[in-house]
């Protein structure tokens, strides 16, 4: 009967954990013992068989299936990834948000009644009156109030957040404009800014 430790040495050999002295003991024994040699060969064969079946591949949609089973991602993370993937859009949207923010805040701050200063304009209870038979020269701009035109305005009339009444005798040489919604108001701002810019260029060209 062979010593028990010989079989252990065989396993150590297969685990590649055998030291040279033990390997020599094993080899010497195998040379002299047919039975152990047979067992050793069977073990080596088993080892090769099991190694031979090792490689396997997961089903093709495995990853997608795992991700579908995960708890929902936090919105914050999704947004962060979107921002890093679309830097230009991010910059643009930040810009738009800031723009809108400043416009809205100035819209809401702009609640006080005001009117452009001109001769012959009469103010009564937040209503600007162009009296009958009088003539106002220049553009009239009214914020947060109404305007009643009974006389003549030689220029444009703009009413922001208010209403205009044009009496039958009233007369405006320029345009009459009412701005009541915030988007109208923004559009009005854009127009006036553009006009100012054109005006500046016009002046410099004239020089």
């Amino acid at each position: 009967m062979c010593p028990e430790q010989i079989v252990e040495l065989m396993h150590d050999y297969l685990d590649e954990e055998i030291d040279p002295a033990n390997e020599k003991t094993l080899r010497d024994h195998l040379k002299s013992c047919k039975e152990c040699e047979m067992i050793f060969n069977q073990l080596k064969k088993t080892d090769a068989f099991v190694k031979g079946i090792s490689h396997m591949q997961a089903p093709p949609d495995f990853t997608a299936n795992v991700l579908a089973r995960l708890p929902k991602e936090k919105k914050k993370v999704w947004m962060q990834r979107w921002f890093t993937n679309h830097p230009m859009l991010t910059a643009a949207s930040v810009f738009i948000i800031l723009m809108m923010g400043s416009l809205f805040s100035s819209w809401s701050q702009d609640q006080a009644f005001s009117v452009s200063k001109q001769k012959n304009l009469v103010v009564k209870n937040n209503t600007v009156i162009v009296p009958k038979g009088k003539t106002v020269k220049g553009d009239v701009v009214v914020h947060n109030g109404n305007v009643r035109i009974e006389g003549e305005v030689q220029g444009d009339v703009t009413v922001i957040n208010g209403e205009k009444y044009l009496a039958s005798a009233g007369h405006v040489t320029g345009q009459i404009e009412e701005v009541n919604e915030v988007f109208d108001w923004i559009w009005y701002h854009i127009k006036t800014t553009a006009k100012d810019v054109i005006g500046i260029f016009g002046q410099s060209n004239a020089k």
Binding site: T46, A58, V66
Partner: protein
């Protein structure tokens, strides 16, 4: 690759699921293979492998980032497989231990006397035979053998995955291999 995995883990901890998708891509074949060898059924293997990744995702904060991620992941997968094996244990306890042997079961007793047919075995058939014999091993030997024959796993890693001393792992591999030898010697 460990560096990439570490980076991805940090992203996953912040909640980034795309980063976790990359981790799944890296390990899906090994985990699936581990589960298939343990359970012997493709459907179950896929189910348990997915479950292992799901648990890894949910518990990612408890993973010690100084350790190897694969060790942790394989431990989760192995434990899930063992749980599943216990649940579907047949009621005629063939894998109950035979008295006086440590871990040798009825399986190894019955079929060792009925040699497999000595016809020429096609490679695929051979693979199935080997897989079948692995499935006959009692769970503690089966886990050790399956891990031992996964690519690139050292005995130390196996001992960490199974949370067992190195000596115990070696013994289990040796016993498992001996049982396989007896089954496969006539193939």
């Amino acid at each position: 690759m460990d560096k990439i995995v570490k980076k991805r883990i940090k992203q996953v901890i912040k909640g980034d699921q795309d980063a976790f998708g990359e981790i799944v891509e890296i390990y899906k074949n090994s985990v699936y293979q581990l589960c298939y060898r343990m359970l012997g059924n493709r459907h179950e293997a896929e189910d348990i492998a997915q479950e292992a990744f799901l648990r890894a995702y949910v518990n990612i904060r408890s993973f010690n980032q100084d350790l190897k991620f694969s060790t942790w992941l394989f431990r989760i997968a192995t434990n899930l497989c063992i749980d599943r094996m216990r649940k579907k244990k047949p009621d005629y306890y063939l894998d109950a231990e035979v008295a006086g042997t440590e871990g040798l079961t009825m399986y190894s007793q019955i079929s060792s006397d009925s040699p497999l047919p000595e016809t020429e075995v096609e490679s695929l058939e051979l693979q199935e035979t080997v897989q079948k014999e692995i499935l006959k091993l009692p769970e503690k030997y089966r886990a050790a053998i399956v891990l031992k024959y996964m690519k690139d796993l050292s005995l130390n890693e196996i001992s960490e995955i199974l949370d067992l001393p190195l000596g115990t792992v070696k013994t289990r591999i040796h016993r498992g291999r001996e049982a396989l030898r007896q089954q496969l010697r006539y193939v």
